[in-house]
């Protein structure tokens, strides 16, 4: 199993969700997060004073998938979340030891 974590622009969430559900992914967890990368935030004005927005709002999607489909899912997320401009986000993939479905007690691939 692989655990895929994607940090994307908030307004791209629907596109990514549609792409994944269309490809048969049946579950995901989404969190509103803030952070910065190479872009290092940006500056705004409020009542004549400049201020730096260090931590920009992003969406974090977490999904767990069998090893066999991980590459395809990463491809789908990348394609759906890309705008081509700065701040599009990142995708991280990590191996996962175990998954357990609380209601039924199933384990492994059948639990996700």
């Amino acid at each position: 199993m692989k655990r895929i974590e994607a940090i994307i622009k908030p307004f791209k969430l629907d596109d990514v969700k549609d792409a994944l559900t269309g490809a048969g992914i049946i579950g995901m967890t989404v969190t509103e997060v803030r952070g910065f990368g190479r872009q290092k935030g940006h500056t705004e004005m409020y009542r004549g004073n400049e201020y730096t927005v260090d931590f920009l709002p992003k969406m974090k999607i977490e999904i767990v998938v069998p090893d066999s489909v991980a590459d395809r899912v990463v491809g789908l997320i990348t394609a759906a979340a890309r705008t081509g401009s700065i701040g599009d986000g990142k995708v991280f993939v990590a191996p996962l030891d175990e998954a357990l479905r609380i209601r039924t007690g199933e384990r492994g691939d059948s639990a996700v």
Binding site: E44, M45, Y46, R47, G48, N49, E50, Y51
Partner: protein
């Protein structure tokens, strides 16, 4: 049949039954009406009140409605009596209704001030705006009104009753300088009178507008207990004294009669009396309080602390702009004075140009049209036109608003970056600076079409550009007096109170947010978690631990 379709069918049947009932009842009512009309026409001959319907409205009201000994045949004296009573009725009604509109401005202030401050202080900021209405009214009833209006003399638009006839004055240079009134304490005794009560209502909501202005500049760090004492202080002493000098027959209003300076200090609806008093009090209070933690860096440069709810601020601004149709046109104290049309149009024009010029100024200077500054711009236009609204043409009204729109943006930044006074909502720039600009603009642009006999001086009110240089001098004296007296009295009050009891919350309370430590409840509990969680962190001790909520119950 599924559950969903059954429910749809159910609602359709109910809707059909309701429509059928309406049609049946309506049809019956109209059917009843038909035979009634010819019957009334037949019986029309001598019986006076005709009972036939008047859908056009032209026949309702007539000679039979004039109170007379012989019904339908009033004498000339009876007609004159009746028309005088009508005139006063219209004026009294107008004064009351516009007063009700001004009362609603409290809601506007509450929304603007709360929207432009942070979520952790909403309950505290809201309740200052709420309680100032109740506290201010009480203080004004006890002695504020008496000091303010006790020596007014005859209320000419409301029957001319001269019940408020006692002014304390000192004699200087052979002239009387009225300082405060001495009649109308608790509205008791001989001031138990309809005209006096109408005047009280109208003047009380004006005083409350001034009293609620400092709560914005002093928000997010002011101790609630200190605010309560302040509410009595401004409504019982500072506001009534200055208002007496301008509106109660006091010495500033007599500058014209005594020293030939135009019509004396003229302030039609309160740019100085209401707004500048509020703004200058706010300045003194914010200076004694000091800036919010985190507002200024070590090198003195300011950090912006954005408000938490822009829609709330904008809605508040619209409510204020609506209430201003009571504030300015109501200040005629007369619905029979048709100048109210000019006043109302001037008021709205200045609000428009204020917002437009604030928008363009911020856009050009800082890159984007700042929402909170556009709101401040509209309010600044309204504040500035409040004094001259009755005396200027629509062109000058637009210009006065336009200048105030730029002035408020410049002043807000100046107060923050140069004077280092932290005013979260821009109250000092909006009400203090533009209040001063408003009364001065009256001394420049008044065109001499209105105000004959104002403050007991013959002739209309003319500004500097219309041949009235001495009027401008009177305006300068009034503005200076307002600043010096109100700043000194308010600064003294806040400073002494601070030394004895303290006006500011502790840094721990300020950082946590004033809602729970000061008021015992979060304004937005679902966002910030139940109050008991904060108590559990040891920042304050819960009085009743049995009330602690699980997360489910909190929701």
């Amino acid at each position: 049949m599924t559950e969903a379709t059954r429910r749809t069918l159910h609602w359709r049947i109910i809707a059909a039954l309701v429509v059928a009932c309406l049609l049946a009842v309506g049809g019956w009512v109209f059917a009843q009406d038909k035979p009634a009309a010819p019957a009334a026409a037949q019986a029309a001959a001598p019986a006076p009140p005709p009972s036939k319907p008047d859908p056009g409205g032209t026949a309702t009201g007539g000679v039979a409605d004039v109170t007379a000994k012989t019904a339908g045949k009033p004498t000339l004296e009876e007609v004159a009596d009746f028309s005088g009573h009508n005139r006063v009725s219209i004026n009294l009604m107008w004064t009351l209704i516009t007063g009700f509109l001004v009362m609603f401005m409290q809601a506007g202030f509450a929304l603007v001030e709360t929207g432009f401050t942070r979520a952790k202080n909403v309950a505290h900021t809201m309740m200052m705006n709420f309680m100032v209405y109740a506290i201010g009214m009480t203080g004004y009833w006890i002695c504020g009104f008496a000091l303010h209006m006790g020596g007014l003399g005859a209320i000419s638009t409301m029957g001319g009753t001269g019940l408020l006839d006692s002014e304390f004055a000192i004699s200087l240079f052979g002239k009387d300088f009225g300082l405060f009134g001495m009649k109308g304490f608790f509205l008791a005794g001989s001031t138990y009178d309809v005209a006096v009560f109408a005047l009280f209502l109208f003047q009380m909501v004006f005083m409350d507008t001034a009293a609620t202005i400092p709560t914005g500049a002093m928000a997010e760090r002011w101790k609630f207990s200190s605010f309560v004492v302040f509410g009595f202080f401004i409504s019982m002493f500072t506001y009534p004294l200055f208002a007496n000098w301008v509106w109660g027959g006091g010495w500033l209003s007599q500058l014209g009669k005594n020293f030939g300076l135009g019509h004396g200090h003229v302030d039609f609806a309160g740019s100085s009396v209401v707004h500048m008093v509020g703004g200058v009090t706010a300045l003194a209070g914010a200076m004694v309080l000091g800036p919010r933690i985190g507002k200024y860096n070590k090198d003195g440069s300011p950090n912006p602390i954005p408000g938490h709810n822009i829609p709330m601020g904008v809605l508040g601004c619209f409510i204020l702009a609506f209430g201003w149709f009571g504030f300015n046109p109501g200040s005629t104290l007369a619905g029979s004075d048709l100048r109210i049309a000019v006043i109302a149009v001037n008021t709205m024009l200045a609000s428009a140009s204020g917002a437009i010029f604030a928008m363009f100024y911020m856009w050009k200077r800082y890159g984007k049209p700042d929402p909170s500054m556009m709101v401040n711009g509209m309010l600044a236009g309204l504040v500035a036109i409040t004094a001259p609204c009755a005396f200027v043409s629509s062109f000058w009204a637009f210009v006065i608003g336009a200048i105030s729109g730029v002035l408020v943006c410049w002043a807000a930044v100046f107060i923050e970056t140069v004077m280092k006074v932290d005013d979260p909502v821009g109250a000092i720039a909006v009400h203090g600076v533009n209040g001063a600009w408003g009364v001065l603009s009256l001394g420049l642009f008044s065109d001499g079409t209105y105000g004959d006999g104002f403050n007991g001086v013959e002739g209309t009110v003319r500004g500097l550009f219309y041949g009235g240089a001495s009027q401008f001098v009177a305006q300068v004296i009034g503005t200076t007096t307002c600043f010096v007296f109100i700043f000194a009295a308010s600064w003294g009050f806040f400073k002494v109170y601070d030394l004895v009891f303290g006006v500011r919350v502790s840094p721990e309370v300020e950082l946590e947010g004033l809602d729970v430590p000061e008021m015992g409840v979060h304004g937005y509990p679902e966002v910030q978690g139940p109050a008991t969680l904060v108590h559990a962190m040891g920042l304050s001790t819960p009085k009743a631990p049995a009330m602690s909520m699980t997360p489910e119950r909190a929701r």
